[in-house]
Protein backbone atom coordinates (compact mmCIF):
# COMPACT_ATOMS: atom_id res chain seq x y z
CA UNK A 1 0.00 0.00 0.00
CA UNK A 2 1.31 3.41 -0.91
CA UNK A 3 -0.27 6.80 -0.55
CA UNK A 4 -1.08 9.50 -3.05
CA UNK A 5 2.27 11.25 -2.82
CA UNK A 6 4.18 8.00 -3.25
CA UNK A 7 2.27 6.88 -6.31
CA UNK A 8 2.77 10.23 -8.01
CA UNK A 9 6.49 10.00 -7.31
CA UNK A 10 6.60 6.41 -8.55
CA UNK A 11 4.85 6.87 -11.88
CA UNK A 12 6.66 9.49 -13.84
CA UNK A 13 4.11 11.42 -15.90
CA UNK A 14 1.42 11.30 -13.24
CA UNK A 15 0.15 14.59 -11.77
CA UNK A 16 -1.95 14.98 -8.65
CA UNK A 17 -4.88 16.68 -10.43
CA UNK A 18 -4.94 14.04 -13.17
CA UNK A 19 -4.91 11.24 -10.63
CA UNK A 20 -7.74 12.88 -8.71
CA UNK A 21 -9.78 13.17 -11.91
CA UNK A 22 -9.25 9.51 -12.71
CA UNK A 23 -10.32 8.63 -9.20
CA UNK A 24 -13.42 10.80 -9.62
CA UNK A 25 -14.15 9.05 -12.93
CA UNK A 26 -13.91 5.71 -11.18
CA UNK A 27 -10.94 4.57 -13.23
CA UNK A 28 -8.86 4.13 -10.11
CA UNK A 29 -10.41 2.95 -6.87
CA UNK A 30 -7.99 3.41 -3.97
CA UNK A 31 -8.97 2.69 -0.40
CA UNK A 32 -9.96 5.79 1.44
CA UNK A 33 -8.99 6.23 5.05
CA UNK A 34 -10.33 9.59 6.05
CA UNK A 35 -8.63 12.17 3.83
CA UNK A 36 -5.74 9.88 2.89
CA UNK A 37 -5.76 7.36 0.07
CA UNK A 38 -4.07 3.99 -0.14
CA UNK A 39 -3.12 2.35 -3.41
CA UNK A 40 -2.47 -1.37 -3.46
CA UNK A 41 -0.31 -3.05 -6.08
CA UNK A 42 -3.35 -3.56 -8.34
CA UNK A 43 -4.16 0.14 -8.19
CA UNK A 44 -0.53 1.01 -8.97
CA UNK A 45 -0.43 -1.34 -11.95
CA UNK A 46 -3.69 0.10 -13.16
CA UNK A 47 -2.53 3.70 -12.83
CA UNK A 48 0.65 2.79 -14.71
CA UNK A 49 -1.43 1.22 -17.47
CA UNK A 50 -3.75 4.23 -17.71
CA UNK A 51 -0.69 6.48 -17.92
CA UNK A 52 0.72 4.41 -20.76
CA UNK A 53 -2.57 4.38 -22.61
CA UNK A 54 -3.03 8.07 -22.15
CA UNK A 55 0.47 9.53 -22.41
CA UNK A 56 2.28 7.00 -24.59
CA UNK A 57 -0.50 5.66 -26.78
CA UNK A 58 -2.28 9.00 -26.84
CA UNK A 59 -5.70 7.66 -26.07
CA UNK A 60 -7.80 10.63 -25.06
CA UNK A 61 -9.77 10.47 -21.85
CA UNK A 62 -13.13 10.20 -23.65
CA UNK A 63 -12.02 7.10 -25.51
CA UNK A 64 -10.07 5.85 -22.55
CA UNK A 65 -13.29 5.42 -20.59
CA UNK A 66 -14.53 3.04 -23.26
CA UNK A 67 -11.20 1.24 -23.51
CA UNK A 68 -11.10 0.68 -19.77
CA UNK A 69 -14.70 -0.48 -19.67
CA UNK A 70 -14.08 -3.01 -22.42
CA UNK A 71 -10.81 -4.08 -20.87
CA UNK A 72 -12.43 -4.65 -17.49
CA UNK A 73 -15.18 -6.67 -19.13
CA UNK A 74 -12.55 -8.69 -20.95
CA UNK A 75 -10.80 -9.48 -17.70
CA UNK A 76 -14.07 -10.27 -16.01
CA UNK A 77 -14.82 -12.78 -18.75
CA UNK A 78 -11.34 -14.21 -18.46
CA UNK A 79 -11.76 -14.65 -14.74
CA UNK A 80 -14.98 -16.54 -15.28
CA UNK A 81 -13.29 -18.65 -17.91
CA UNK A 82 -10.44 -19.41 -15.54
CA UNK A 83 -12.90 -20.43 -12.86
CA UNK A 84 -14.58 -22.78 -15.27
CA UNK A 85 -11.31 -24.09 -16.55
CA UNK A 86 -10.36 -25.11 -13.04
CA UNK A 87 -13.80 -26.59 -12.49
CA UNK A 88 -13.38 -28.64 -15.66
CA UNK A 89 -9.90 -29.57 -14.56
CA UNK A 90 -11.32 -31.08 -11.38
CA UNK A 91 -13.64 -33.37 -13.35
CA UNK A 92 -12.89 -37.00 -14.14
CA UNK A 93 -11.18 -37.74 -17.42
CA UNK A 94 -14.32 -38.83 -19.29
CA UNK A 95 -16.20 -35.68 -18.33
CA UNK A 96 -13.29 -33.53 -19.46
CA UNK A 97 -13.12 -35.43 -22.74
CA UNK A 98 -16.82 -34.88 -23.35
CA UNK A 99 -16.52 -31.16 -22.61
CA UNK A 100 -13.51 -30.91 -24.91
CA UNK A 101 -15.51 -32.60 -27.63
CA UNK A 102 -18.44 -30.21 -27.17
CA UNK A 103 -16.17 -27.19 -27.20
CA UNK A 104 -14.49 -28.32 -30.40
CA UNK A 105 -17.72 -28.84 -32.28
CA UNK A 106 -18.96 -25.35 -31.41
Amino acid sequence: MINEIEIIALIEPLQADVLQRWIDLGWVLPNHDGPSMHFDSTDVARVRLICELHYDLRIEEDSLSLVLSLMDQLYAARRVLATFASAVEAQPEDVRARIACLVKTK
Binding site: A45, L53, D56, D72, L74, Y75
Partner: protein, 296 residues
Protein backbone atom coordinates in the same frame (compact mmCIF):
# COMPACT_ATOMS: atom_id res chain seq x y z
CA UNK B 1 19.71 -6.21 -26.90
CA UNK B 2 19.24 -5.64 -30.57
CA UNK B 3 19.34 -2.27 -32.23
CA UNK B 4 16.50 -0.09 -30.83
CA UNK B 5 15.95 1.48 -34.25
CA UNK B 6 15.45 -1.95 -35.68
CA UNK B 7 13.07 -2.95 -32.90
CA UNK B 8 10.92 0.07 -33.56
CA UNK B 9 11.28 -0.36 -37.31
CA UNK B 10 12.57 3.15 -37.94
CA UNK B 11 15.58 4.57 -39.71
CA UNK B 12 18.52 5.91 -37.69
CA UNK B 13 17.87 9.38 -38.96
CA UNK B 14 14.13 9.24 -38.17
CA UNK B 15 12.67 12.28 -36.48
CA UNK B 16 11.28 12.24 -32.95
CA UNK B 17 7.69 12.27 -34.23
CA UNK B 18 8.29 9.33 -36.51
CA UNK B 19 9.82 7.36 -33.68
CA UNK B 20 6.95 8.21 -31.34
CA UNK B 21 4.45 7.15 -33.97
CA UNK B 22 6.26 3.88 -34.57
CA UNK B 23 6.42 3.17 -30.87
CA UNK B 24 2.73 3.97 -30.38
CA UNK B 25 1.73 1.63 -33.19
CA UNK B 26 3.81 -1.23 -31.86
CA UNK B 27 2.79 -0.63 -28.25
CA UNK B 28 -0.89 -0.83 -29.13
CA UNK B 29 -0.25 -4.15 -30.79
CA UNK B 30 1.81 -5.61 -27.99
CA UNK B 31 0.77 -4.03 -24.73
CA UNK B 32 0.26 -7.08 -22.50
CA UNK B 33 -2.73 -5.56 -20.73
CA UNK B 34 -4.52 -5.14 -24.04
CA UNK B 35 -3.55 -8.61 -25.26
CA UNK B 36 -3.99 -10.90 -22.29
CA UNK B 37 -4.00 -14.02 -24.43
CA UNK B 38 -0.71 -13.28 -26.10
CA UNK B 39 2.04 -14.83 -23.96
CA UNK B 40 4.78 -13.27 -26.06
CA UNK B 41 3.30 -9.81 -25.83
CA UNK B 42 5.02 -8.97 -22.58
CA UNK B 43 8.52 -9.80 -23.81
CA UNK B 44 7.88 -8.01 -27.04
CA UNK B 45 6.37 -4.97 -25.35
CA UNK B 46 9.25 -4.68 -22.90
CA UNK B 47 11.67 -4.81 -25.78
CA UNK B 48 9.80 -2.09 -27.60
CA UNK B 49 9.50 0.02 -24.45
CA UNK B 50 13.23 -0.35 -23.76
CA UNK B 51 14.04 0.64 -27.31
CA UNK B 52 11.75 3.62 -27.08
CA UNK B 53 13.22 4.58 -23.72
CA UNK B 54 16.49 5.10 -25.52
CA UNK B 55 15.63 6.55 -28.91
CA UNK B 56 12.47 8.31 -27.70
CA UNK B 57 14.55 10.36 -25.28
CA UNK B 58 16.79 12.94 -26.94
CA UNK B 59 19.62 12.72 -24.40
CA UNK B 60 19.68 8.93 -24.27
CA UNK B 61 19.36 8.70 -28.02
CA UNK B 62 22.47 10.88 -28.37
CA UNK B 63 24.35 8.71 -25.89
CA UNK B 64 23.32 5.58 -27.77
CA UNK B 65 24.15 7.07 -31.16
CA UNK B 66 27.63 8.01 -29.96
CA UNK B 67 28.17 4.52 -28.57
CA UNK B 68 28.26 5.63 -24.90
CA UNK B 69 25.38 3.28 -23.89
CA UNK B 70 24.18 0.12 -25.45
CA UNK B 71 20.67 -1.21 -25.71
CA UNK B 72 20.86 -3.12 -22.45
CA UNK B 73 21.72 -0.11 -20.32
CA UNK B 74 20.57 -0.14 -16.71
CA UNK B 75 19.36 3.41 -17.04
CA UNK B 76 16.46 2.30 -19.17
CA UNK B 77 13.11 3.53 -17.97
CA UNK B 78 10.81 0.56 -17.64
CA UNK B 79 11.97 -1.69 -14.87
CA UNK B 80 12.42 -5.16 -16.32
CA UNK B 81 10.39 -6.75 -13.55
CA UNK B 82 7.51 -4.33 -13.71
CA UNK B 83 4.10 -5.74 -13.08
CA UNK B 84 1.47 -5.45 -15.70
CA UNK B 85 -2.12 -4.84 -14.85
CA UNK B 86 -3.22 -8.13 -16.37
CA UNK B 87 -1.47 -10.05 -13.61
CA UNK B 88 -3.71 -8.26 -11.13
CA UNK B 89 -6.81 -8.17 -13.23
CA UNK B 90 -6.89 -11.91 -13.56
CA UNK B 91 -6.44 -12.40 -9.85
CA UNK B 92 -8.87 -11.68 -7.08
CA UNK B 93 -8.04 -7.94 -6.62
CA UNK B 94 -9.14 -7.16 -10.16
CA UNK B 95 -12.75 -7.77 -9.18
CA UNK B 96 -13.37 -4.31 -7.82
CA UNK B 97 -12.69 -2.77 -11.21
CA UNK B 98 -14.84 -5.24 -13.04
CA UNK B 99 -17.74 -4.36 -10.83
CA UNK B 100 -17.31 -0.64 -11.13
CA UNK B 101 -18.76 -0.48 -14.62
CA UNK B 102 -21.82 -2.37 -13.65
CA UNK B 103 -22.91 0.62 -11.63
CA UNK B 104 -23.94 -1.59 -8.76
CA UNK B 105 -22.28 -1.43 -5.41
CA UNK B 106 -23.96 -4.51 -4.09
CA UNK B 107 -21.22 -6.70 -5.47
CA UNK B 108 -23.66 -8.56 -7.67
CA UNK B 109 -22.74 -11.95 -8.95
CA UNK B 110 -20.84 -11.82 -12.15
CA UNK B 111 -23.41 -11.96 -14.93
CA UNK B 112 -21.49 -14.31 -17.13
CA UNK B 113 -20.64 -16.53 -14.23
CA UNK B 114 -24.22 -16.57 -13.07
CA UNK B 115 -25.41 -17.36 -16.56
CA UNK B 116 -23.00 -20.20 -17.12
CA UNK B 117 -23.34 -21.53 -13.65
CA UNK B 118 -27.07 -21.06 -13.66
CA UNK B 119 -27.40 -23.30 -16.63
CA UNK B 120 -25.96 -26.13 -14.66
CA UNK B 121 -28.13 -25.80 -11.61
CA UNK B 122 -31.47 -24.48 -12.81
CA UNK B 123 -32.07 -26.03 -16.15
CA UNK B 124 -34.65 -24.17 -18.15
CA UNK B 125 -36.51 -26.76 -20.07
CA UNK B 126 -40.02 -27.37 -21.21
CA UNK B 127 -41.38 -30.48 -19.59
CA UNK B 128 -41.30 -33.58 -21.72
CA UNK B 129 -44.39 -35.09 -23.26
CA UNK B 130 -45.88 -38.16 -21.68
CA UNK B 131 -47.53 -40.84 -23.75
CA UNK B 132 -50.48 -42.86 -22.63
CA UNK B 133 -53.02 -45.17 -24.11
CA UNK B 134 -56.55 -45.09 -22.93
CA UNK B 135 -59.59 -47.16 -23.76
CA UNK B 136 -62.89 -45.42 -24.18
CA UNK B 137 -66.27 -46.91 -24.91
CA UNK B 138 -67.72 -46.85 -28.37
CA UNK B 139 -70.37 -44.36 -27.35
CA UNK B 140 -67.89 -42.05 -25.67
CA UNK B 141 -65.91 -41.94 -28.88
CA UNK B 142 -68.99 -41.23 -30.97
CA UNK B 143 -70.68 -38.70 -28.75
CA UNK B 144 -67.69 -37.18 -27.02
CA UNK B 145 -67.16 -37.13 -23.30
CA UNK B 146 -65.37 -35.42 -20.50
CA UNK B 147 -63.38 -37.75 -18.34
CA UNK B 148 -61.02 -37.58 -15.46
CA UNK B 149 -58.80 -40.63 -15.43
CA UNK B 150 -55.97 -41.70 -13.22
CA UNK B 151 -53.28 -43.26 -15.36
CA UNK B 152 -51.04 -46.14 -14.43
CA UNK B 153 -48.25 -43.84 -13.30
CA UNK B 154 -50.59 -42.11 -10.89
CA UNK B 155 -51.05 -39.12 -13.13
CA UNK B 156 -54.54 -37.69 -13.28
CA UNK B 157 -55.64 -36.56 -16.71
CA UNK B 158 -58.58 -34.41 -17.57
CA UNK B 159 -59.76 -35.47 -20.97
CA UNK B 160 -62.23 -33.92 -23.25
CA UNK B 161 -62.99 -36.48 -25.91
CA UNK B 162 -64.33 -34.74 -28.97
CA UNK B 163 -67.38 -36.27 -30.65
CA UNK B 164 -66.46 -38.52 -33.56
CA UNK B 165 -63.12 -39.60 -32.22
CA UNK B 166 -61.69 -42.56 -34.11
CA UNK B 167 -59.78 -45.56 -32.91
CA UNK B 168 -56.04 -44.93 -32.34
CA UNK B 169 -56.42 -41.21 -32.59
CA UNK B 170 -53.99 -39.33 -30.38
CA UNK B 171 -55.22 -36.60 -28.14
CA UNK B 172 -52.77 -33.93 -27.13
CA UNK B 173 -53.55 -32.61 -23.69
CA UNK B 174 -51.68 -29.34 -23.40
CA UNK B 175 -49.75 -28.87 -20.22
CA UNK B 176 -50.60 -32.25 -18.74
CA UNK B 177 -47.18 -33.80 -19.37
CA UNK B 178 -44.04 -33.60 -17.30
CA UNK B 179 -43.64 -30.39 -15.35
CA UNK B 180 -41.23 -27.86 -16.85
CA UNK B 181 -38.04 -26.78 -15.12
CA UNK B 182 -36.84 -23.29 -14.40
CA UNK B 183 -40.15 -21.61 -15.10
CA UNK B 184 -40.69 -23.26 -18.44
CA UNK B 185 -43.99 -24.75 -19.54
CA UNK B 186 -44.95 -28.32 -18.77
CA UNK B 187 -45.05 -30.84 -21.58
CA UNK B 188 -48.16 -32.35 -23.07
CA UNK B 189 -49.81 -35.65 -22.46
CA UNK B 190 -50.25 -37.60 -25.65
CA UNK B 191 -53.06 -40.04 -25.22
CA UNK B 192 -53.69 -42.68 -27.84
CA UNK B 193 -57.31 -43.60 -27.68
CA UNK B 194 -58.47 -47.14 -28.19
CA UNK B 195 -62.13 -47.39 -28.89
CA UNK B 196 -63.80 -50.46 -27.45
CA UNK B 197 -66.17 -52.33 -29.74
CA UNK B 198 -69.88 -52.12 -29.17
CA UNK B 199 -72.14 -55.20 -29.09
CA UNK B 200 -74.72 -53.58 -31.32
CA UNK B 201 -73.09 -50.87 -33.34
CA UNK B 202 -70.39 -50.79 -35.92
CA UNK B 203 -68.89 -47.73 -37.39
CA UNK B 204 -68.06 -46.87 -40.94
CA UNK B 205 -66.65 -43.40 -41.02
CA UNK B 206 -69.38 -41.22 -39.69
CA UNK B 207 -72.08 -43.76 -40.25
CA UNK B 208 -73.30 -46.23 -37.71
CA UNK B 209 -74.39 -49.68 -38.70
CA UNK B 210 -76.57 -51.94 -36.65
CA UNK B 211 -78.76 -54.90 -37.15
CA UNK B 212 -82.36 -54.74 -36.12
CA UNK B 213 -84.23 -57.95 -35.54
CA UNK B 214 -87.86 -57.97 -36.55
CA UNK B 215 -90.50 -60.60 -36.63
CA UNK B 216 -91.82 -62.15 -39.76
CA UNK B 217 -95.07 -60.35 -39.30
CA UNK B 218 -93.35 -56.98 -38.84
CA UNK B 219 -91.41 -57.64 -42.00
CA UNK B 220 -94.41 -58.61 -43.97
CA UNK B 221 -96.91 -56.11 -42.72
CA UNK B 222 -94.66 -53.27 -41.74
CA UNK B 223 -94.45 -51.85 -38.25
CA UNK B 224 -93.02 -49.23 -35.96
CA UNK B 225 -90.39 -50.87 -33.85
CA UNK B 226 -88.03 -49.43 -31.26
CA UNK B 227 -84.39 -49.33 -32.35
CA UNK B 228 -81.24 -48.44 -30.45
CA UNK B 229 -79.19 -45.59 -31.80
CA UNK B 230 -76.09 -43.95 -30.42
CA UNK B 231 -78.21 -41.25 -28.88
CA UNK B 232 -80.96 -43.41 -27.53
CA UNK B 233 -83.93 -45.46 -28.56
CA UNK B 234 -86.15 -44.25 -31.33
CA UNK B 235 -89.12 -45.75 -33.15
CA UNK B 236 -88.27 -46.93 -36.62
CA UNK B 237 -90.81 -47.49 -39.31
CA UNK B 238 -90.26 -50.87 -40.87
CA UNK B 239 -91.87 -50.69 -44.30
CA UNK B 240 -94.34 -53.27 -45.32
CA UNK B 241 -92.67 -56.15 -47.16
CA UNK B 242 -89.23 -55.63 -45.62
CA UNK B 243 -86.80 -58.49 -45.61
CA UNK B 244 -83.56 -59.57 -44.01
CA UNK B 245 -80.89 -57.32 -45.41
CA UNK B 246 -83.18 -54.40 -46.00
CA UNK B 247 -81.38 -51.26 -44.93
CA UNK B 248 -83.09 -48.34 -43.37
CA UNK B 249 -81.40 -45.01 -43.25
CA UNK B 250 -81.90 -42.98 -40.12
CA UNK B 251 -80.71 -39.57 -41.23
CA UNK B 252 -78.49 -37.66 -38.92
CA UNK B 253 -78.43 -40.41 -36.38
CA UNK B 254 -74.82 -41.37 -36.96
CA UNK B 255 -71.73 -39.55 -35.78
CA UNK B 256 -72.54 -35.90 -35.42
CA UNK B 257 -69.38 -33.93 -34.90
CA UNK B 258 -68.28 -30.41 -35.70
CA UNK B 259 -67.98 -31.03 -39.42
CA UNK B 260 -69.68 -34.36 -39.78
CA UNK B 261 -73.22 -35.56 -39.82
CA UNK B 262 -73.42 -39.28 -40.32
CA UNK B 263 -76.40 -41.53 -40.65
CA UNK B 264 -77.41 -44.65 -38.90
CA UNK B 265 -78.09 -47.60 -41.17
CA UNK B 266 -80.30 -50.24 -39.71
CA UNK B 267 -80.10 -53.56 -41.40
CA UNK B 268 -83.18 -55.59 -40.81
CA UNK B 269 -83.03 -59.18 -39.86
CA UNK B 270 -86.16 -61.23 -39.95
CA UNK B 271 -86.23 -63.65 -37.10
CA UNK B 272 -88.51 -66.62 -36.91
CA UNK B 273 -90.14 -67.52 -33.64
CA UNK B 274 -88.02 -69.61 -31.30
CA UNK B 275 -90.32 -72.58 -31.31
CA UNK B 276 -92.67 -72.40 -34.22
CA UNK B 277 -95.75 -74.48 -33.51
CA UNK B 278 -97.15 -77.04 -35.91
CA UNK B 279 -99.97 -74.83 -37.11
CA UNK B 280 -97.54 -72.10 -38.10
CA UNK B 281 -95.26 -74.54 -39.91
CA UNK B 282 -98.16 -76.12 -41.68
CA UNK B 283 -99.62 -72.86 -42.95
CA UNK B 284 -96.24 -71.66 -44.22
CA UNK B 285 -95.67 -74.95 -46.01
CA UNK B 286 -99.05 -74.71 -47.61
CA UNK B 287 -98.39 -71.15 -48.66
CA UNK B 288 -95.03 -72.08 -50.12
CA UNK B 289 -96.42 -74.93 -52.16
CA UNK B 290 -98.83 -72.49 -53.71
CA UNK B 291 -96.14 -69.78 -54.22
CA UNK B 292 -92.80 -71.42 -54.70
CA UNK B 293 -89.80 -69.05 -54.66
CA UNK B 294 -86.04 -69.37 -54.88
CA UNK B 295 -84.12 -67.12 -52.43
CA UNK B 296 -80.71 -68.48 -53.55
Amino acid sequence: MADPYQILGVRREAGADEIRKAYRGLAKKTHPDLHPDDKAAEVRFKEIASAYAIVGDEAKRALFDSGKIDGSGAELKPSPDREFYRQHAEAEPGVKYEQYWRGSENGQEDDLFAELFGRRTTVKMRGSDLSYTLAVTFLEAVNGAKKRVVMGDGKTLDLSIPPGLVDQQILRLRGQGQAGAGGEKPGDALVEIHVEPHPLFQRNGNDILSILAITLGEALAGAKVPAETVTGTINVTVPKGSNTGTKLRLRGKGVVARDAKGDHFVELKVVLPDKPDDAFVKSVKEWESMHPYDPR
